[in-house]
């Protein structure tokens, strides 16, 4: 029983991820994680930091452009196909 309450950091971080994915945990898992986070500052940091990353991930805007050569090549291929099958 003592072991049941005392989960490892490996298990705790897994439960943190699972909660982020599923939105919830079983009652047992919730209790195990709660106790672990109460005593383990490192896993608490892991939780806060991964939440922070995930919360911000969506503002990810890319403004890459095709190289001139690549665009040219695609243009040729697509236009050939259009002419061939119009």
């Amino acid at each position: 029983m003592a072991n049941w309450f005392n989960i490892s950091c490996k298990k705790a971080t897994y439960l943190i991820s699972k909660k982020q994915e599923e939105g919830s945990l079983t009652i047992g898992e919730k209790l195990q994680l709660f106790i672990h986070l109460f005593i383990c500052d490192v896993c608490k940091l892991f939780k806060v930091q991964t939440n922070y990353i995930l919360k911000n991930i969506h503002q990810h805007h890319h403004t890459e452009t095709l190289t001139v050569a690549a665009k040219e090549k695609i243009n040729v291929v697509v236009k050939e196909e259009i002419i061939k099958t119009q």
């Binding site: 490892s8 950091c9 490996k10 911000n56 991930i57 890319h62 095709l66 090549k73 697509v78």
Partner: protein, 189 residues
Amino acid sequence: MDANRKLNATSWVDNYGDALYSYTLARVNNAAQAEDIVQETFLSAWRARDTYNGTASEKTWLYTICKNKIIDYYRKASTNKEVLAKEDETEDYFFGDDGRHWDNDKKPQSWGVDYSKNIENKEFYSILKKCKDKLKEVQQSVFTMKYLEDIDTDEICETLGITVQNYWVLIHRAKIQLRTCLEKNWINA
């Protein structure tokens, strides 16, 4: 055939080439592969021109086709890869052999940022992309599908042919590594 008139196929590459390329490159992490996907998107769109009914805009329609091409790419990439979660040393690396505690050199450090604020920092996103590119292919696919594509867990599992437990493990490993990579290259840069 009426609807076809709303499609301006000869201008697709000029009008949408860069946008679709940006969108694709953020998801497949390989310029040549992204170019192929963009080209295939236009070719497939052209071949399917009769199915375009004008309900969605031309642009939206092309994005939908592109997104399906990207999912096909993930699916193909996953079939030849070892997807099984146990074949991986990620946790041993971070938690040592018994897994009880974080390895002293690899445990999360305090970042000294206000976690409640949004990240308004362009650099974060370019580093995030580099960190994401370093992930193992299957972790990267899972992470991208979930957090960039907003595809739900069931569909990801079905596309990649993995169990939901396997999915949790893969996405968890992706997070552990992204966090560490960001700490190293963004916070402590």
